[in-house]
């Protein structure tokens, strides 16, 4: 006869072992090493909460301090590989296999370790995809998470950076896994219950806040005139004609420029209320002038942003906030919103090939995807109509029966033809292909696939790929906005001119954009200080962004 309670029994053993080092649910910091050694088993699947922003840094350091003879062969399943300790765990031989989404600050080291076979790579996921696998075939045995405060029963308050926590806890705790939370402080009553205490087995009082990465702060002082020109092209050539009201922005300077042009250039074009009213977006500081000018109706957030806490709390008409007043973010819900309820994704990339595949992987850096491939893809399960979605669908397939025609999500890649250190944005062959070959991966890590991307915007113009009718047209449309890169200079000038006559390629002069307007004076804020002033002092920029 089968025993159907083996997982519950195993959890019971872990709980009993953990209680040896705890007082109720509370594990004192000095006992943390012995506690982790007692509750984690070699070969466990472990989610060490590394989110896009919030990091369970105390638990990460403690895990990295274990000895590989005690604990080894862990399989790490976490969305963000952000802290050095996340990779120390592999360097020391405590963990072996990794499934993740994003590795921004560790992108160079993770590439070296993959090449050095220090890490056995499962896959690079988009957030929503990794979360989905938490419930199917990557369910954690142990989750090490981060929150702002806990009560003695384990009820957790996550504050503005809730991010991945509800998803991680749901998958772990309801499937007989162990949940351990690091919290800044233990209190009598938490300001709001973000995670119910029944699901949390142990808490560790860290005595200081968890680390948060300020990922979404772009200093307006660093925005160039080329980026302003490119932003004007996007606003006048895409936002306006499609009437894009529901959207997600990437985190680069190009979209920061768009945000800062809404109250100036957008206002001049009469677009207020007609575009950019609803966002799935982190609280970008560069959005403050547009919010203050009444452009935005509503924003749902994946996470928070350092320094934006008081501003968000004071703008509950715009943001989702809890009874305690502070932001409620949730990465899984916001990614779902970005996938199904937004009509456009616009973001930057590092490399685009002649078919329109794009990737942020270069041979020396594996930054992962984060949410971009999810937001930057056409959801085949969508059924509700909207003006931009229907218009894009009609452009792609003008001759079919309108009532049976799928709409299309606008997936826009934006950037200057030459990026950092003058690296060309357009390439014959993606570095991702070489990486896949070297690491013997089945799939090259492509961020946005060619058949999802609808527009490419550079300072030279907009290429509308929906209106291309052949592979050749598509290639020339891409070459036609590739500027003076090798790809751009090898264009078929006659075919590019024909595409321009058909409106497949549109240049600044075709849209009546005056190059003299590409001036920093057009930005609604030209410095971090301007953003702070625009917020009435509510935005408190982190010290590294202050120069006054």
């Amino acid at each position: 006869m089968s025993d159907w309670g083996m997982q519950k029994a195993a959890l019971g053993e872990r709980l009993a072992a953990g209680r040896q080092h705890a007082k109720g649910k509370v594990v004192p910091i000095p006992s943390l090493p012995a506690f982790l050694k007692a509750v984690i088993r070699s070969g466990d699947r472990v989610c060490l909460e590394g989110d896009n922003q919030k990091q369970a840094d105390i638990l990460a350091a403690a895990l990295a301090n274990l000895e590989p003879q005690d604990v080894h062969d862990l399989h790490m399943v976490q969305s963000g590989v952000v802290l050095p300790s996340h990779l120390d765990i592999f360097e020391k031989g405590i963990a072996r296999r990794l499934d993740f989404s994003y590795s921004g600050p560790q992108s160079a080291r993770i590439a070296r370790m993959l090449f050095g076979r220090k890490i056995e790579l499962g896959a690079v996921h988009t957030y929503l995809e990794l979360f989905a696998r938490y419930f199917i075939d990557l369910t954690p045995n142990v989750a090490l998470i981060a929150a702002v405060s806990a009560d003695k029963d384990g009820n957790l308050y996550t504050g503005p950076n809730t991010e991945d926590t509800p998803t991680v806890v749901e998958a772990t705790s309801y499937k007989n896994g162990l949940v351990v939370a690091q919290v800044t402080e233990i209190v009598d009553k938490v300001p709001r219950v973000d995670i119910p205490g029944d699901l949390v087995h142990f808490v560790v009082e860290a005595g200081r806040p968890f680390y948060v990465e300020p990922l979404f702060t772009r200093d307006p002082a660093a925005i160039t005139e080329t980026q302003i020109l490119t932003a004007m092209l996007a606003i006048k050539g895409i936002y306006a004609p499609y009437g894009v009201r529901r959207l997600n922005h990437g985190i680069g300077f190009n979209t920061a420029a768009i945000e800062l042009l809404l109250p100036t250039y957008g206002e001049k074009l009469g677009l207020k209320g007609k575009v950019c009213t609803h966002f799935a977006l982190n609280p970008h500081p560069t959005l403050i002038p547009a919010i203050e000018a009444g452009w935005i109706d509503q924003i749902h957030c994946f996470g928070s942003e350092v320094g934006m806490e008081n501003y968000v709390a004071a703008r509950s008409d715009i943001f989702f906030t809890g009874p305690d007043g502070s932001l409620r973010s949730n990465r899984a819900f916001c990614q779902t919103a970005g996938l199904y309820a937004c009509d456009m994704f616009i973001g930057s990339t590092l490399q685009i090939d002649l078919e329109g595949h794009s990737s942020t992987v270069t041979t020396s850096r594996i930054a992962g995807f984060g949410g971009a491939p999810n937001m930057g893809s056409d959801p085949r399960g969508r059924r509700h109509p909207s003006e931009p979605w229907l218009k894009a669908g009609a452009e792609a397939d003008p001759d079919s029966n309108a009532a049976l025609r799928r709409g299309r999500k606008l997936v826009v890649q934006i950037g200057e033809t030459f990026g950092e250190r003058s690296a060309p944005l357009f390439v014959e062959r993606l570095d991702a292909l070489d990486l896949a070959q070297e690491l013997e991966l089945d799939l090259a890590p492509v961020m946005v696939y060619s058949d999802d991307v609808t527009h490419i915007v550079t300072e030279e113009g907009i290429a509308n790929l929906l209106m291309c009718r052949s592979k050749d047209e598509r290639e020339q449309a891409i070459r036609g906005v590739a500027g003076y890169t090798d790809i751009g200079r090898a264009r078929d000038a006659k075919l590019v001119e024909q595409l321009r006559q058909r409106g497949v390629i549109r240049r600044p002069e075709d849209l009546g954009i005056d190059p003299l307007d590409a001036d920093r004076r057009l930005l609604a804020a030209r410095s971090i200080k301007d953003l702070m002033l625009a917020s009435g002092g509510l935005y408190r920029p982190p010290s590294r962004f202050r120069n006054w």
């Binding site: 005139e225 080329t226 200057e416 030459f418 550079t458 300072e459 500027g483 003076y484 200079r489 190059p515």
Partner: protein, 105 residues
């Protein structure tokens, strides 16, 4: 410092009546463009002094496109370049044409 010179036939002559215009500044990654109305209406010359060596082919492509796309006839253009990227050069040239077209006040 590398010096490059181009003499091109222009299909359209520059608009407006201003004798000269200047845009941009000489700085790293930036450039200064001086435009003077001093040639026959079908001719445009461009003299470049650049801090970045070995980009002659890119300059050639940028200035030929510029003269083909914009109304540059009659202009003598002098460029002091601090190693600007081609997109910045193209933007400054376009801005220069707009500036010399502007009505005099």
């Amino acid at each position: 410092m590398e010096k490059l010179s181009f003499r091109l036939t222009a299909a359209r002559s520059a608009g407006g009546t201003r004798a000269q215009a200047i845009v941009g500044v000489v700085a790293s990654g930036n450039l200064e463009v001086l435009l003077e109305r001093s040639h026959p209406a079908d001719t445009c010359t461009i003299d470049i002094a650049t801090a970045a060596h070995g980009f002659g082919a890119v300059w050639d492509a940028v200035v030929r496109d510029f003269v083909a796309r914009r109304s540059a006839g009659g202009l003598r253009i002098s460029i002091n370049d601090g190693g600007a990227r081609p997109d910045t050069v193209a933007l400054r040239l376009a801005q220069g044409i707009r500036k010399i077209e502007e009505p005099e006040r």
